[in-house]
């Protein structure tokens, strides 16, 4: 069992203990049909402390954060917020089900770009995501996909090769550093993971 730490505090603030397993969150979830464990199942696992099952689920990487579950929960559980907390925990611990690695790489490439420029550089995002994705699974088709889209975007003036940069890039780097430090401190705030419990 994990020691009660910042994760437990965070999900408690999002009212996990109020979940009565009605399943309404899963009924309205747009990604429910492709998830291995729909949101109410994740809530059940988190609620009873089976965190390892939750962080290993594919569904935390499939969730698109549409907030439908949170908006509809009869018990005012912030279901989408708890999905975020589980994903953030998985991220800190480096856990990710193999089929979902591409989604994780996409998020990584996105944040890299924001950290460096303060804003998203779409060219850099796509290039990094495609190359890292390719190195993770060697799927050539996915590497080349969308490359046909670029000329069509350029034609429409919808493609800026060099994205914008924020004027305050030093501050942005400090914001990233501070937030990552807090997250790292929280990660140490736990006993090591216990395998598949719950």
């Amino acid at each position: 069992m994990r020691k009660a730490g910042s994760f437990d505090k965070a999900v408690s603030a999002l009212r996990i203990e109020r979940c009565y397993q009605c399943g309404k969150c899963s009924a309205g979830c747009p990604m429910g049909s492709v998830m291995d464990a729909p949101p109410h199942r994740i809530m059940q696992w988190v609620g009873r402390g089976a965190i390892d099952r939750a962080v290993n689920a594919e569904s935390i990487w499939l969730c698109v954060s549409c907030q439908t579950c949170t908006a509809r929960c009869p018990q005012t559980v912030d279901t989408a917020g708890i999905m975020d907390e589980v994903r953030a925990l998985a991220w800190r611990e480096g856990v990710c089900s193999p089929a979902m690695v591409r989604t994780k790489l996409f998020l990584e490439a996105f944040l890299d770009s924001v950290r460096r420029h303060g804003r998203l550089n779409e060219t850099e995002l796509i290039a990094k995501y495609k190359i890292r994705g390719f190195l993770s699974d060697y799927k050539m088709a996915l590497l080349l996909k969308d490359s046909m889209l670029a000329p069509r975007l350029i034609k429409r003036g919808k493609f800026r090769l060099f994205g914008g940069k924020s004027g305050d890039r030093d501050v942005i780097k400090r914001i990233f550093d501070k937030c990552e430090k807090v997250a790292a401190a929280e990660a140490n705030d736990k006993t090591p993971k216990e395998a598949h419990h719950g």
Binding site: P30, M31, T68, A80, T103, R119, L120, K145, G157, S166
Partner: protein, 293 residues
Amino acid sequence: MNLLLGYYPGCALHGSSSDYESSIQACLQAFKIRLVELNGWVCCGASAAHSVNPLLSKSLSARNLAIAEREGYTELLAPCPLCSMELCKARHTILEDEEHRKQLSDIVELPLQGKTRVINVLQVFESIGQAELREHVKQPLTEVRAACYYGCLLTRPPKVVEFDDCEHPNSMEGILEALGASTVKWNFATECCGAGMTLAREETVIELSHRILANAVAHGANCIVVACPMCHVNLDMKQEETRKAHPELPQLPVYYLSDLVGLAVGLKESQLGVDKHFVPAELDLLSEPAETR
């Protein structure tokens, strides 16, 4: 109406959704609303930040709110619903949780009170009001039968964004009807299109978008109207691929709400960026005079 609004474009509007920016700017100019871009704004971190580090997500938004406050804006327009929701969420925390407010203020290195209100594009049109909208109409949209598509984040989560009814919104309908358009009743107005998963989970996005497009067609719509850059990418840019997977689906133009308001008040396609869309606009349905086509 001679109004000045703080403007947070966000990365999408400064990137591949630049047509949305031109649409909003041209359209609001027609109502004498001036947008002033927030100095030194930073990316809100989108789904990436809140997915992996909720504190980082709030901090990036808090930085933008602090800049808006410093520059004295009472209202900040964030046309992308994801940016807008993230900004609202950070403001909600700032106003409700003093401990968190202090932490965020420290992190972003600026004073932070949560004074600036964050608004979406629909709220700007609502504040203009139906009467004034009607007065500006030069080209009534009589042939338009719109499926108003709100997607996820314009109305959700309701406690955070505090806008319209999250299950049965009707603000967009009110705006379009004031311009002479009709709107259809349909089932997918608030269903998700897959949002930012376009690159990472393309096949899922195509299936979700297909359900939305097909339902709009089944209910007699001749276009879909959106107010979100991601909805536009998934429904417009990806429509060709969606139709490849579902050949029975007819082509359906996807407009930004500001496109239709702009066209109704006499602006041209090219001024608004409608000519940049992937699915060509069916201007017949706007019954435009020949020389503006």
